[in-house]
Symmetry: C2
Subunit: 200 residues, 2 copies
């Protein structure tokens, strides 16, 4: 038999690449736990390893340094959110108000279903330098997306300001809803956000 490469050797029933991928995923999930903790984002290498029940050596097997994990966790959650939004928009009537409602409900449900993700998306970039330093926050991109949708009878700077203000209003409302400051029905929140989006 040909000498198989180390990556394909079986150990404990699985191959090395499988185990490595599983460990990476465990680290990612632990990262979501810590970066989306209710008490605020606090992700350290040791803490994430304790949480994932892995050793630091396996951390550096999957990520070159701490900040790369933070970025990967954020991108992990952002990808899920993007997918949820795409799905919601695809299965929705194409008129703008219905689209806005579909998108908002999808996002709110994602946050309610797993508040960690909401906190990672909304709160972590404000706190963690690894996210705020890069343009890694999605909010500017979201603001640009809104700006394109605005009516053209206003000046460019006015549209930029309304877009930024709108993003601020939505994120602030979502954050307040997440941490319990805003006690209100899920549907009321969705209604209000849709109204903000469609009237702007």
């Amino acid at each position: 038999m040909l000498s198989q490469r180390a990556a394909d050797r079986t150990w404990g029933g699985t191959t090395l690449t499988d185990r490595k991928a599983a460990r990476r995923l465990r680290l990612l999930e632990a990262g979501v736990d810590l970066l989306g903790a209710p008490e605020g984002p606090a992700l350290s290498v040791r803490a994430v390893c304790r949480h994932a029940k892995l050793t630091e050596r396996y951390f550096y097997e999957s990520f070159p340094d701490r900040d790369e994990l933070v970025l990967a966790v954020y991108e992990h959650v952002a990808a899920a959110a993007r997918q949820a939004l795409v799905d919601a928009v695809r299965s929705s009537p194409p008129d703008p108000p219905a689209l806005a409602r579909a998108a908002v409900t999808a996002f709110v449900e994602l946050m309610v279903d797993d508040p960690r993700r909401g906190r990672v998306l909304l709160l972590a970039p404000l706190t963690d330098p690894a996210l705020s330093s890069r343009g890694m926050a999605l909010l500017p991109a979201f603001a640009a997306l809104i700006r394109e949708q605005l009516p053209e009878d206003e000046s460019e700077t006015d549209r930029e300001m309304t877009a930024i203000g709108l993003v601020g209003a939505l994120t602030h409302l979502f954050s307040a809803y997440l941490d319990g400051t805003l006690t209100v029905d899920r549907d009321q929140l969705v209604d209000h956000c849709v109204r903000l989006l469609t009237r702007a």
Copy 2:
């Protein structure tokens, strides 16, 4: 002569209480520097002492621990902002639009005149646990103040959401203006904010 109390003895030309107060003020100012740093709030006891050219012993002479300094710095800046707002409102015609404009311009000028203060008020509470844990952020109070001003033909929850969204929009706009993300004239920013406030 009666033996004067230690606090009133003169040393280096000033009394103990004077020197102590001066040191406290120097620590406060250094705290504003660090808590309002452009790279993000990073206030440690050693750093603030280095900055104020004092020893750690004098830190604990004026503040029981690190968090108390953070709170004091925030309150220091908040008091100045309150004063600026009160002055602006006092010397303004009493109709609501003029009041809104006066308040917004006062706040924007305070931020432009000393961006550290703007960052302390807007950014530090999001980052530093000593501020976010307590209700020490002024934003909820500001939201409540706005809520009372809203028309009464809407439901209570609607007014609460409008107020929270409005605060989010304003803070987001101010933050973007502070860090250069939003490149726009000061007057344009003021106009936009006043429009948001008076049309809500």
